[in-house]
């Protein structure tokens, strides 16, 4: 666990990175669960093995201020067509990264903002098209070009959706990292008529 200073209102780079990567964990879990990408019983397995490794790397990049986006892509298992794209864009305060200063914001407020996003993810099933077929997911990271590709990652294409519908969700801000959430999805076929 990253250390946070005793005075709750002070946020350090490390603390902020911890909050943001923790958020990614919750968000990823919530998306996979709510969108039914995996059946509930095997969910524990996905949670236990896949995500922690991913998040450790994210945290590292966040601390270095080199992570620009995290994208969770949901694809059809059969055709590998991208059906949904959950885009989390990150804006990092470069002053904090370069000079090591800290910022002030109450923990509680940050949590409130995160909760709002989580609720939005959960309620997204009301408008997102049904994922009728078996799906698989991928996690993409957009980083600065000087970041070496770690052993557990490979270079990738953006896995975009052609002519997507987009919905912007709430954002949250630790004053060091600002995270915007956007979900884009493939147009539901019968919409066109």
């Amino acid at each position: 666990m990253a250390s946070r200073t005793v005075a709750k209102d002070i946020i350090t780079l490390r603390g902020s990175a911890a909050i943001v990567s923790e958020f990614f964990g919750y968000a990823a879990n919530s998306i996979l669960y709510n969108r039914g990408v995996y059946p509930e019983e095997s969910f524990a397995k996905v949670k236990k093995y896949g995500l922690p490794m991913l998040l450790t790397q994210d945290e590292e990049w966040l601390e270095a201020g080199k992570l620009q986006r995290v994208v969770m892509v949901i694809m059809s298992k059969a055709t590998k067509e991208v059906l949904e794209r959950w885009n989390f864009s990150i804006e990092t305060d470069s002053d904090v990264v370069e000079k090591g200063v800290s910022r002030e914001k109450s923990d509680r407020e940050i949590m409130r903002e995160i909760q709002a996003i989580m609720r939005q993810i959960a309620s997204s099933i009301t408008y997102l098209p049904c994922l009728d077929e078996p799906c698989v997911f991928d996690v993409l990271a957009y980083t600065d070009t000087d970041v070496p590709v770690p052993f557990t990652w490979i270079e990738s294409d953006p896995k975009l959706i052609a002519n997507p519908q987009m919905v912007k969700l709430h954002s949250f801000d630790t004053k060091i990292h600002k995270v915007d959430t956007l979900v884009s999805y493939k147009n539901d076929e019968w919409d066109e008529q």
Partner: protein, 421 residues
């Protein structure tokens, strides 16, 4: 109010001017270009997460394996008929040198005592499935004779061995001694089957002989009905009916009480090739499955009460063996030659729908025999590629995903290096 529709109408849609692929390409290109610089005008690169740092020896990355596993489970949940995971690999492979590549022999039998008896060339070996110990029971001297049919008695105290030169022997395995030699045939013994103290043998001389092994004069009855070699012989589980398959493509059903009169119950001529594979259904009385040879390739399910064929599957491959699964309602077929599909494979079929559940098989050449373990979980296929492969395909009803996923190859055991006890 249709909320979905309302939402769609309210949110702005990207108008689709053109659905030609050129447009999409150009659009995609534009999108990629625009995305190569982020909001702050910084260039970036994209990476996709692929695996655990600990995945060293295995080439499959852990996360991929995990995702495949989970996706497979999901697929299983999605399908209407429950999909059973069948093992992708053998549990064990045993080296079986000099195993005769002869469709008509039945050289393998797994007894209730957990001993597998298998004839390899001129020799007959016993393999203990509990401790994997190998023991050579007998060796035939002289080049012209070899075991062609091997069957354990129901209590596994006696092993019946039929030979090329028409001899039929009974062996006591505990003491490794020949108890008795039974005469009667004039041609090789292709098939044998036990029914309590009755040992039935089918031969190239076209006859079926029932021996009462307790009597001094063992010959109880001799049936001469087949027009060619009797290569398939199976008693029903209750012991009231005998099914015999011949090389003239006929399948006869006999009643135990009427054997001496040579009067058959049914004569079934639906197959167009030799009927070697026979198996009685363990959950339905008097239901029999039969499999045809190369020109036939059909699995036929029979109601032997009425003598009618209730189901037929074209596997398009030579069928050398059939085994019913006692734990799930399924039947497994072992195959040899084929011009089209299923060559050298084991196919699992759901019963009674006869839909294919899956197929197994790593044999490099045709499968000659099949047999199953006394606990009904493992099936062995004996192949012309001189291997015996063990498949844990018949798993118990509560098998979890772990039980039937990729099994490890447990190593090779060569019969050649066995020690005589």
């Amino acid at each position: 109010m249709d909320l979905d529709k309302a939402h769609t109408l309210l949110t702005s849609k990207t108008p689709q001017f053109n659905t030609s692929s050129n447009f999409n390409q150009a659009y995609r290109q534009k999108l990629i270009e625009n995305l190569s610089l982020d909001s702050q005008g910084r260039p970036f690169k994209i990476m996709v997460f692929r695996g655990s740092p600990k995945s060293s020896r295995k080439s499959i990355r852990f996360v991929d394996e995990l995702r495949q596993e989970v996706a497979a489970i999901f697929e299983k949940d999605c399908k209407q008929t429950p999909y059973r995971c069948i093992p992708k690999g053998e549990k064990r492979v045993l080296d079986a040198p000099r195993l005769r590549n002869d469709y008509y022999s039945n050289i393998m039998s797994w007894g209730m005592n957990n001993m597998l008896a298998v004839a390899l060339g001129h020799e007959l070996y016993l393999w203990n499935s509990e401790d994997q110990a190998v023991h050579k029971l007998l060796q035939v001297r002289g080049g012209n004779d070899w075991p062609t049919s091997v069957t354990w008695s129901e209590d596994a105290r006696t092993l019946a061995v039929g030979y090329m030169c028409s001899n039929l022997q009974l062996w006591d395995v505990e003491s490794s001694k020949l108890i008795r030699s039974l005469q009667g045939h004039s041609g090789r013994i292709a098939s044998t089957a036990w029914n309590g103290h009755i040992l039935t043998s089918g031969s190239r001389d076209k006859s079926i002989i029932n021996h009462d092994v307790r009597a001094a004069n063992s010959l109880a009855s001799c049936i001469k009905r087949h027009a060619d070699e009797v290569c398939g012989l199976k008693w029903s589980t209750e012991g009231n009916r005998l099914a015999s398959g011949g090389n003239e493509n006929l399948l006869y059903i006999w009643e135990a009480s009427k054997m001496s009169s040579s009067k058959f119950l049914h004569r079934l001529s639906d197959h167009c090739a030799a009927v070697k594979a026979l198996a009685w259904c363990p959950y339905q009385n008097n239901v029999l499955a039969s499999g045809g040879g190369l020109s036939d390739g059909c699995i036929k399910i029979w109601n032997t009460e009425k003598g009618i064929c209730i189901n037929n599957i074209e596997t398009k491959a030579q069928i050398c063996g059939l085994e019913w699964n006692r734990h799930h309602k399924e039947i497994l077929s072992g195959h040899g030659y084929s011009i089209r599909e299923n060559q050298n494979k084991l196919c699992l079929w759901r019963y009674p729908s006869m839909t294919k559940v899956g197929e197994l098989g790593n044999h490099k050449s045709r499968i000659i025999n099949l047999c199953q373990s006394p606990d009904g979980i493992t099936v062995i296929s004996a192949g012309a590629d001189e291997t015996l492969r063990f498949w844990d395909v018949f798993g118990p009803p509560t098998a979890g995903a772990g039980n039937s996923m990729v099994s490890d190859l447990q190593g090779l055991l060569s019969f050649r290096t066995s020690l005589l006890r």
